[in-house]
């Protein structure tokens, strides 16, 4: 039945600013931003959240969120977030980091933060390459995958194996919530949003370190159109980086939201 009153069912989250992003068409960084903003809105955290942007394509994330934000040196976001959280323990502090930032140059900081059970949330974008600098090999680059610095495909003999970050961090006693999700289709995006919600719920409840690894596309550097890039996540990334819950605090596991 057609009514004459229209109801908006899909609108821009209040904590996402009106600015158009600088991300390439089809890049899933934008989706991840939106999910974070939706969760912050739903949980009513706009006034108490402080974000920490990292170095990578999302360096300007602070332009797109309407709450306090700081910008960290490459890889150091978890340390900066620690500094903020330790002096403002009632605030919600999260970092937003790419895979070069978090799993390469910042591996020390992220493992230490998880080990300390630092009560922060990490949104971790795994797009299998260094996006911002033009598509070099990352710690997450798949075996055989061509990048500008592995032109013949990643040779695991000389260039090593991809690091499964979520699995690695889930071994830490201090971690309260560690999962991997993907942004390649609507169903998975909904699951990703729920995971982001649970990660922030972990922090609100003081249950320790929380991280959501998001398999994300980089159509520009992968040399694909956006749809093929999403398919590539499903067909190539998920087999190596399985979507799973690696550590879920019992309180969060029993949460109904």
């Amino acid at each position: 039945m057609v009514t004459d009153t229209e109801i908006t069912v899909y609108h821009r989250p209040a904590t996402l600013t009106d600015l158009g992003t600088h991300y390439c068409p089809g890049c899933t960084h934008g989706i991840a931003h939106r999910l974070v903003a939706e969760v912050i809105d739903e949980m009513g955290l706009r006034e108490t959240t402080i974000g920490v942007a990292s170095v990578g394509c999302s360096v300007f994330a602070y332009n797109y969120f309407d709450f306090d934000f700081v910008q960290a040196p490459h890889g150091r976001a978890p340390a900066m977030a620690t500094g903020i959280k330790r002096v403002l323990s009632d605030r919600i502090v999260f970092t937003y980091q790419g895979d070069g930032d978090l799993a390469s140059i910042g591996m020390g900081e992220i493992v230490a933060a998880a080990g300390r059970g630092e009560n922060i949330t990490v949104i971790f974008i795994n797009n299998a390459n260094y996006g911002m600098t033009g598509g070099q090999m990352a710690p997450t680059t798949l075996p055989g995958m061509k990048t500008t610095s592995s032109p013949n495909g990643r040779d695991v003999e000389s260039q090593g194996y991809p690091i499964r970050t979520a699995e690695l961090l889930a071994t830490q006693e201090g971690a309260g919530y560690i999962v991997r999700r993907s942004l390649h289709d609507p169903k998975n995006i909904r699951l990703a949003k729920k995971a982001i919600r649970l990660a922030f719920e972990t922090q609100v409840r003081g249950l320790g370190f929380s991280l959501v690894e998001l398999l994300s596309s980089c159509p520009t550097n992968w040399g694909m159109d956006p749809v093929d890039a999403l398919r590539w996540i499903e067909q190539n990334m998920i087999p190596y980086f399985p979507i799973n819950d690696f550590k879920v605090h019992p309180v969060i596991a029993s949460l109904r939201i």
């Binding site: 959240t49 306090d68 910008q71 403002l88």
Partner: protein, 370 residues
């Protein structure tokens, strides 16, 4: 308040606590470690923040994060650890945040040793991190001064939204002297208008050091430099001894300055008209004072516990108007007053210009040590 017998590292830590330190982040390294150990007990006792970081990289970035919230925050380390902090310091400078750092220098380069040295002068005073930035550098020569300058460091950091580094050598960190601690200041309750503490009832705030548009970056560089001009105008500090009628001048900072004072006293006792200038702020440097001394003296001797780092800054002030001599003990060796006295004699007995650079001449005399 009464004087107590205090170890340098502990005295600095307690002075910071009393100056209203709200958060400390650090990593163990000799000869600074007691400072961290002391605060690991003292800060939690007072309900304040203490974290032993995973590295100096971690520590300085925790400091960076905490500084964004407007709290009084500090870290401490020694030479190799300070090197690791250079990235963070550059970011903090680029974001224009107040931060206090204590550097208790040891011998080097490399892992070097844990003996007292002044090897970090250039790294601390002339940058070290990338970019045009200007930390305020305070150099105590005794434990009372270390206490007083630590308190001052927090005030200056906030006044100029600047990094303030208290630079001392390991002997000052390790030795005990009678000194008086300041009264306990209340912790701050209000925060500056730039602090990112959650956008409660206000528009969001951002702290960043990225200015992709070079025009904006240049504006920031110029703003930082303008602020530095203010610092240079207002904050030069130095101590002078016997300079009123001095024909010859010794210049040294920190422990080297203190040792030089003993030598200067001995020279005076011999009837030599020698005085001492001890820079307390290495940055801003007492350039005008040194320029004036260059005009009025027959020679200047620079004494350092390195291979002549401040020497270059002194020479830039002297501009060839009077002979400059150098004596240094790098590598973790504290010169003895007698060694400096020999150098004073050399200066007063030798009239006229020197042949070549004072560092080269000093090195020739040092070959016996190689």
């Amino acid at each position: 308040m009464v004087k107590e017998l205090l170890k340098g590292n502990i005295a600095i830590a307690e002075a910071a606590v009393r100056a209203g330190l709200q958060a400390y982040f650090g990593y163990p390294i000799t000869p600074q470690t007691e400072l961290l150990e002391y605060l690991s007990k003292r800060m939690p006792e007072l309900g304040r923040t203490f974290v032993q970081a995973e590295s100096e990289l971690g520590a300085i970035n925790m400091v960076y994060g905490a500084a964004c919230t407007g709290v009084r925050v500090m870290s401490s380390s020694s030479s190799p650890g300070i090197s690791l902090m250079m990235e963070g310091l550059s970011y903090i400078a680029g974001t224009e945040l107040p931060v206090v750092l204590i550097d208790v220098m040891r011998g080097g380069p490399g892992l070097g040793n844990i003996a007292p040295s002044q090897q970090d002068y250039n790294q601390i005073v002339h940058g070290g991190g990338h970019g045009d930035y200007y930390p305020i550098v305070l150099a105590p020569a005794n434990i009372q001064e270390a206490i007083d300058l630590t308190v001052l460091a927090f005030d200056l950091a906030e006044k100029y939204r600047s990094i303030v580094i208290v630079l001392l050598d390991g002997s000052l960190g390790q030795m005990m002297e009678p000194a008086e601690l300041p009264p306990m200041q209340p912790l701050r309750e209000s925060y500056p208008e730039w602090a990112t503490r959650g956008a409660i009832g206000r528009e969001r705030r951002i702290h960043t050091s990225i200015y992709l548009n070079p025009v904006e970056q240049e504006k920031t560089n110029l703003r930082i430099l303008q602020r530095w001009q203010e610092v240079k105008k207002n904050e030069v500090r130095y101590k002078s001894y016997f300079l009123e009628d001095a024909e010859y001048v010794v210049i040294g900072f920190g422990t080297a300055g203190r040792v030089a004072l003993s030598a200067v006293r001995a020279a005076r006792a011999e009837g030599n008209k020698v005085g001492l200038l001890r820079p307390v702020t290495l940055a801003p440097f007492p350039a005008q004072q040194i320029e004036a001394l260059a005009g009025s003296s027959k020679g200047i001797l620079v004494v350092e516990m390195n291979s002549g780092q401040m020497l270059d800054d002194v020479m830039a002030c002297v501009k060839g108007r009077t002979p400059v001599h150098f004596y240094g003990r790098p590598g973790g060796i504290v010169p003895l007053p007698d060694e400096v006295l020999v150098e004073i004699h050399r200066m007063t007995e030798k009239s006229g210009r020197l042949n070549g650079h004072p560092r080269d001449q000093w090195l020739e005399r040092m070959v016996q040590h190689i």
